[in-house]
Structures are given as C-alpha cells and as structure tokens.
C-alpha cells in the first residue's frame, strides 16, 4: 500500500492487483480497505492532504475493480461534499473536500453514474452551487499572468469543474487513463464487494493547515504543437489526468534527476499526445507556482537539462518556443515569476555556452529601459555575468545590445587619487590605509580615526562619541578598498576589524550609514553588496530592520526595481526567520529534556532521585527561561521587521497613488506594477510566518482607511487561508 502512495501515477496497476487479490480472498480485501480508511483518517489529522487525496482516489478506483461497492463510495463523497454546508470554517477546507471528489471522477465517474445517477446528479448540483458562491479573492495574487489572453489563468477548482462538466457531457467516456482491470473483468466481476464504513471528515480545528488554492498554468494549446498528435484542450479531462500524472512523477522522483527525466519521457500513452509540450508546461507550471514551487527552484533547471540530454532533437526546441512565448508576454507576467524565469534562463544558458538568438529580441532595444522586456534582458545578462565574467557577456550579445550589458563590477574609492585630496577626511583615509597595511592594532586605528571631524556636530562639547558618518566613511571605504580583491578578502577584513565596526555603528544611523557606504563603493557589483550585507547581518554589525530601512530609503529609490535589491531583502527576511526557528528549536529541546528528567523522577527510581538533584532541574529551568526570553525577543524583532517593510511599502504606494490622482495621471506605471507585485511577493514568500502577525497588521497598517489598491493585496493574502 505504501507503494501506491509513492507511485500515484501507477495507481490503476495497484488497484487491479488489489482487485484480483480480493477476488481470491474476500477477507484480504476487507482488511485492505479498513487499513486504507485508517490511513485516511491519520493523514487528514496530520495535515497530509496530498497523501489523503491519493488515498481517496485509490479507494475510488477500487470501485472499478469490484472491491468497493459503488453506493458506499457515493456515500463517502456525499459526506465530503456536505462539508460545504459547515459554518464558520475556512473556505480552503470545503475547497479541499470538493476537490477530492471532483478529481476522483475521471477514474470512477462512469461507474458511479451507472449505479447511482440520481445521487451523483444531486452531488454535482451541490458542488455547482458551492462553486458559484465561493469567494475568489485570492485569484489575482496567484496568477502568473494578469492577462486573459491567449490563455486564461483559471482558478484550479473552476478549471476542474469545467473539465468534469465536459466529461459528463461526453457520458464519462475517458480514454486516457490506463485501466488494466478491464482486461480482468471476467474475474473481477465475480468478486464480492465491500462497503466502505461511513466516513465523517474530521472536524476543523485551528491547527488544520489546508492546501493553499492554485491557479492552473497554461502556456500551450493545440496550435503550438502543429505536427504530430494533438494537445488535449484545456477543459478536457485528458489534460487534467496527464498533468496530474506528470506532477506525480516529478513528486516521486525529483531527487533523482536522471530517473525523473527518464520516467517523464517514458510516460505511457506518449505517442498519442505531444508529450514534450506537456512536460515543459508542467515543469514551468511548478516553477512559477504561487506562492511557492513545490520543490527547490534549481531542481527544475537541472531536470530540464537532463531532458534536453535525453531528447536533444526535440526538447530544446520546445523549450526555446516556451521561452520565446514567455518573453513576448512579459508585460503581464507577475514580477515574482519574472524573477524565477530570469534565474532559470540565465542558469540554463550557462550550461549551453550562453547560446541564444538575442537578435530575435531586438524589439526590446527600442523600448524605455524600465519596460519589462528590456529590464528582463538586462537582468538576465547581469545574472549571466555572475556565472561568468564581464567580457564574456560583451562577447555573447550582438553589439546592438551594448546598452543592456551590465556595468563592469569595479570598486569606487572616494579617496583614490590626489584629485580628491580636498575631500574631507582624505588625509585620515591615507593614514588609516597605511595603518591597516602595517597591521596596526584596533586601538591604534581608533586613535587615528579620532582625528576625523564630525560634520554632524556644531561644537566640540561632546566627547565625539556620537554618530559620525565621516568616520564610518573614511574607515569603511579604505578597508573595503584594500580588501576589494575577492569575497574572501572582504570577509576577512570585516572579521578582523569587527570591533571597530561595532563601535562605529552603535546606533541606528550608524548602521544605516554603513550600508550606504557599502553601496557607494560597490554599486557596480550588486553581488558583492549582497554578500557583504549578508556578512554584516550575520556578524551583527547591522540588524535586519536596518537593511530594510536602507533598501527603502530615498538613496536607493533609483535601484528599487532592480532584482538584486529584492534578493537582498528576501535573504534578510529568511535569515530572520531561520534565526527565530533556531531558537524555538533550542527551547523545544530544552523543554523535552526537562520533561524527560521529571519523568525519571516520577518513575520513582531511588538511585536516580538521589542524583537528579534539584540543581540539575533548576539549571534546566533557568536555561528554559532564558531561551523563552530569547524567543520572545527574536519574535519581536521579526514582527518589527515585517512592520517596517509593510509600512514603507504603504508609504511609497500611497504617495504614488495620491500624486497620480492629483495629477490626473494613470497610476499603473511599470514602477507601480513592480512595487505592488513586490508587496504581494512579501506576503506570498513568507505567508506562513506573516500569518502569526495578522492581528497586528490589521490593527496598525492594513486598515479600512488605506487605498483600496493596497488593501486588496492584504485581502488576497488573507484569502489564501480563508
């Protein structure tokens, strides 16, 4: 039975086997079904909804194998659909139960209708009514493209419903699923069937985490695969079944790319469908899935490379065709998906000597640089450069593309030459530089830095300990200049002079200024900025909120739509999240340890009671108290980080909207689209974490007074678990 769970694409083979066994041994069938029901209960309790779905599908196919009586299956479906009548439950709960019923019908719809058509009609009517009244607030946030043409991006339940309706119209004739049991019908029809015990879906509890809704990804239709077999239409049930099976193959084999590629390409029935197109569409569908792909992004890149290796004469062309189509539709593609597309494309190219027909994209050269197409090409080239080097990029694109080539990643040193000698702090910069080169101690360097005047101070009555931006500038510019050779050099420098940096950035303004200086010197090398910011956070020279404030500051406004800015922000949020998780884990472990120790005491072991003195317990309790404080403080920092980020977004967007309204200008500029989708992205990428702070967000930030465009994003996010 575990095999069926692991290879759901081979479901009908296993149900046939069970059917044959049941025909031989009625008790086996009974026990098997009972075991499956037990497992179904457990998976539902454990929030394992994908597992539960396959179990139900397996059970429904067992009807086809004469193991389970059709009426009892219908009864189970009726119980599932009755969840739609429950009050005060999240919509995603009833969604799931409806989905389970609908997605089993391609397998068992025919049989159930033959035996119980009246009940099934009633069931489908109930579902129809539910689908009509359910809310679709979440849909805009989950669509890869905002345009309805050429392919509407349908909500997953709507699409499945249309597919089932069509199947019903076709009198449940489904020709794609392999049904081995048909060959054994003479044996199976003799078997005694079992009735499913009445199954009540477990009640909703606050712990339940139902699957998030989805939007169906469509990039191809039958016109795109002109030769060979025809691609089943978007509302045909074949399309659903093929995609389900391909998704399942990826789910089973994603860790082993060669096996995965081979399994995908040997899909049964592949001669009747344009398999390469389906595979490419399913893979991109997963890669672009919002909120998150089911598996790590890089897996898809490597899988596509394996597929290209196995089908060198056909797959690369389909992939190129898909890339071309996605390039053409960039204007309406969700910013998060554009990120993933350019990451994929640049990494893919780096495996194929960066060969691409760039001239085909010459149309982007005539557009404004902030439009999606030229922006995309520019960011792709920047990513390609990170995987190679500047000259390589110059060589691979036609000369006409020179405006989109990334800048050479050089360091900008303020105190470079004599020409800058009038600059404030120049003399000290030279002295500091020499001091560092001569391995002066931290005290000596701090003494040198004392000579730096503070442009913020009016007179010298202060000890000079306040925030001195010039001091920071002189020291950090010089240090980073000396260490500019490589990442390792820069990291060593930050480590060696950690003490000084900490001293200089004791306040919030200091932290902000350090980030500004890093940007000033490395503004042509975003990758270096990224890794330096990472190190500064990890060594606690700056905190996460400082990074957020810096990225949203007016100084960085001109960089606001650049990809690397968001890489840094999301990396920062992730570090914060991991930090909280780490301490929470430590707390859990300490609590478990204490519990174990107390158990030992309670078990009344005389010897142990002597040894497990009050001391040990006391120590642990103290540790737990400390960890508890640490967790609370970390969570508070985390909450604050999100508040800062959301506040900044709201300010920027509101300002823009107000300005456009007063100027009677269309607010929907490329900048606006980028900004609002970046706000969406924060919610999408961290929706589980942000869920905890919903109360505060609603009270403080996302109130009814907010512009409805901004509030809509918040409401869409809430709809993900409503």
């Amino acid at each position: 039975m575990s095999k069926a769970r692991l290879l759901p694409e081979k479901l009908t083979v296993y149900t046939t086997l069970v059917g044959l066994l049941n025909a031989r041994n009625y008790n086996f069938g009974g026990e098997f079904v009972e075991a499956m029901i037990r497992q179904l209960k457990e998976t539902l309790k454990a929030n394992l909804y994908t597992e539960a779905l396959y179990l139900v599908r397996f059970l429904s196919d067992l009807v086809n194998c004469h193991v389970i009586a059709a009426p009892s299956m219908v009864a189970m479906f009726e119980n599932f659909v009755s969840v739609t009548q429950e009050e005060d439950v999240p919509q995603v709960r009833s969604d799931w139960f409806v989905y389970v019923v609908l997605s089993s019908l391609p397998w068992v719809g025919k049989e159930l209708y033959e035996k119980k058509d009246v009940e099934m009609d009633r069931l489908l009517n109930q579902i129809d009514g539910y689908l009509k009244r359910r809310l679709k607030t979440h849909v805009p946030m989950l669509q890869v493209w905002t345009a309805e043409k050429p392919h509407p991006q349908e909500e997953y339940l709507d699409c499945l419903w249309a597919q089932i309706q069509k199947l019903k119209k076709d009198r449940w004739q489904e020709r794609h699923i392999l049904r081995p049991y048909i060959a054994f019908d003479s044996v199976l029809c003799e078997a005694l069937q079992h009735n499913l015990p009445p199954f009540t879906p477990p009640a909703h509890t606050p712990d339940c985490q139902y699957p998030v809704p989805r939007v169906v990804f469509r990039v191809f239709d039958y016109t795109d695969a002109p030769e060979g077999p025809v691609m089943p239409g978007s509302h045909s049930v074949e399309r659903f079944v093929i995609e389900e099976n391909l998704h399942n193959i990826i789910k089973s084999h994603w860790k082993e790319r060669k096996t995965c590629a081979a399994q995908l390409l040997s899909y049964p029935g592949k001669n009747k469908i344009p398999l390469n197109y389906h595979i490419v569409e399913v893979i991109f569908g997963e890669l672009f899935q919002l909120p998150c792909p089911p598996h790590i992004d890089v897996m898809y890149t490597t899988l596509l490379i394996e597929l290209c290796k196995l089908q060198p004469g056909s797959l690369p062309q389909v992939l190129a065709q898909a890339t071309e189509m996605m390039y053409m539709r960039l204007d309406t593609m969700n910013t998060t998906c554009i990120d993933r597309l350019l990451n994929w494309f640049s990494h893919h190219l780096s495996n194929f000597q960066f060969r691409w027909s760039w001239d085909d994209w010459a149309d982007c050269l005539a557009m404004d640089a902030d439009k999606p197409k030229p922006k995309f090409v520019k960011e792709v080239l920047e990513k390609c450069m990170r995987l190679s080097y500047h000259q390589r990029i110059v060589d691979i694109v036609p000369p006409t593309f020179s405006a989109l080539i990334p800048a050479e990643p050089i360091f900008f040193y303020k105190y470079q030459d004599e020409a800058n000698s009038k600059c404030a702090g120049y003399a000290v910069a030279i002295t500091v530089g020499n001091a560092i080169k001569n391995r002066a101690s931290n005290e000596e360097i701090l003494t040198v830095l004392k000579d730096v005047p503070n442009p913020n101070q009016e007179d010298d009555d202060d000890e000079g300990e306040g925030f001195n931006p010039l001091k920071i500038e002189v020291f950090l510019q010089t240090l980073l200049h000396l260490a500019a050779k490589s990442f390792s050099h820069s990291f060593s420098a930050l480590a060696k002079f950690h003490e000084i940096l900490k001293a200089l950035t004791d306040c919030d303004e200091g932290k902000l200024h350090i980030l500004r200086v890093v940007y000033e010197v490395w503004r042509n090398h975003p990758q270096m900025i990224s890794v330096l910011v990472d190190k500064l956070i990890r060594t606690q020279i700056v905190d996460c909120a400082a990074v957020a404030n810096w990225l949203f500051s007016p100084n960085m406004a001109h960089e606001f739509t650049r990809f690397y800015v968001w890489e840094i922000l999301h990396s920062t949020i992730r570090k914060m999240n991991k930090h909280v998780q780490k301490i929470q884990k430590e707390l859990e472990e300490a609590k478990e340890k204490l519990e174990k120790q107390q158990h030992k005491k309670d078990s009344g072991d005389e010897e142990d009671m002597e040894r497990n003195s009050e001391d040990e317990d006391g120590q642990l309790e103290e540790q737990i108290e400390r960890l508890q404080e640490k967790v609370e403080s970390a969570q508070s920092e985390q909450k604050n980080l999100f508040l800062v980020i959301f506040q900044r977004f709201i300010m920027m967007l509101t300002e823009h909207l107000v300005r456009c309204e007063t100027g009677s200008v269309d607010f929907n500029t490329p900048w606006y689209k980028n900004c609002i989708e970046r706000l969406q992205q924060i919610f999408l990428m961290h929706h589980v974490t942000i869920q905890q702070y919903v109360g505060t967000l609603e009270n403080l930030l996302f109130t009814a007074e907010l512009d409805h465009h901004i509030l809509a994003v918040y409401q869409q996010f809430c709809a993900l678990q409503l």
Binding site: K3, L6, L7, V298, T301, R386, S388, S486, S488, D534
Partner: protein
C-alpha cells in the same frame, strides 16, 4: 518488489562516493561518520580561472553558502582547479549534490563530493609540481588547467624512478 521499493526511497546523488582522503587524520569509520554529517563539499574539475564569485553564485542556488575556499597551487599560490564549499546546513549541501553536481560552471562539468571538513593545509594541491595530482599525470591538453599535464610537459620525469 523490495528492490523497487528501495529505488523509490533512493537519493543516490547524495550518497557518499568511494573516494577517501588518504591524508585524513583518523580511521575509516571516523571519516565516514564525518562525511555522512558534513556540510562541506569538495568541488573538482574547475577551470584555473573560475573565481570565488562564480562559485558563490552557482552554489547559492541550493542554499546559503557559509564559505568558499579556493584550492591553490602549493608553490605558486594561484588557483589550481578545485575548491571547498561549506553550507550552513546539511540539507542545502545535499541539494547541491543533487542539482549542481554534474552541471557546468565556466563551461566545464564540475563534480562535487562530500568532504570531511576543511582543515588548514587542505587548500593546497598535493601534486609534486604544486597543483592537483590529476594534473601531474594526465595526457590531454586542457587550456583551462595549465595546458598539458606535468608529466607530458616534462617528458624526462617518466624515466626517473623516484
């Protein structure tokens, strides 16, 4: 049937290879234990010109990189075609084994393998000439790895018995 079941749980890209570092201080058991827990990967077949930045970019795709140590020629102290990549978590290193190993960096198929952990001194090539051992004896011409192998560049050395 059971073989197939094992195949389903298999994660062969993450398995420890046959290679064992001969200079490892400790017994085989200790070495294997470290390899199975390690967050560090050895990366081989790099071009001499591949930079730390390029390695960072590629290996960051499977998770946050803690540090990279570029392998150096013991004599020249220049890059000699290998490096170590250390991750903060084992899970991220495993994803690199699954999805970065066997793909290209600087147009070369690179190979990753588990490493017991970086220790000072291990960043140097162990070949007689200062680079990696594999570059001592190979016969082919590889412009990204100093051209011919050392044994080809110094034909007299074949006759020496040392």
């Amino acid at each position: 049937m059971s073989i197939k079941l094992n195949a389903l749980f298999s994660d062969s890209y993450v398995d420890v290879s046959q290679y064992r570092d001969q200079h490892f201080k400790g017994n085989r058991y200790e070495q294997e234990k470290l390899l199975k827990q390690s967050n560090t990967l050895y990366v081989g077949n790099l071009s001499f010109y591949t930079t730390e930045e390029q390695v960072y970019e590629l290996f960051s795709k499977s998770g946050d990189v803690k540090r990279i140590i570029i392998g150096l020629d013991k004599v020249k102290k220049t890059a000699c075609g290998f490096c170590f990549v250390e991750y903060y978590t084992r899970a991220d290193a495993e994803n690199a084994m699954r999805f970065v190993n066997g793909t290209r960096l600087d147009d070369r198929i690179i190979r990753t393998d588990w490493d017991a952990g970086f220790k000072e001194g291990r960043q140097y090539g162990r070949g007689k000439s200062g680079g990696q051992v594999r570059d001592e004896y190979r016969q082919d011409y590889d412009p990204a790895r100093g051209g011919y192998g050392k044994v080809v560049a110094r034909p007299q050395s074949i006759r020496t018995t040392t």
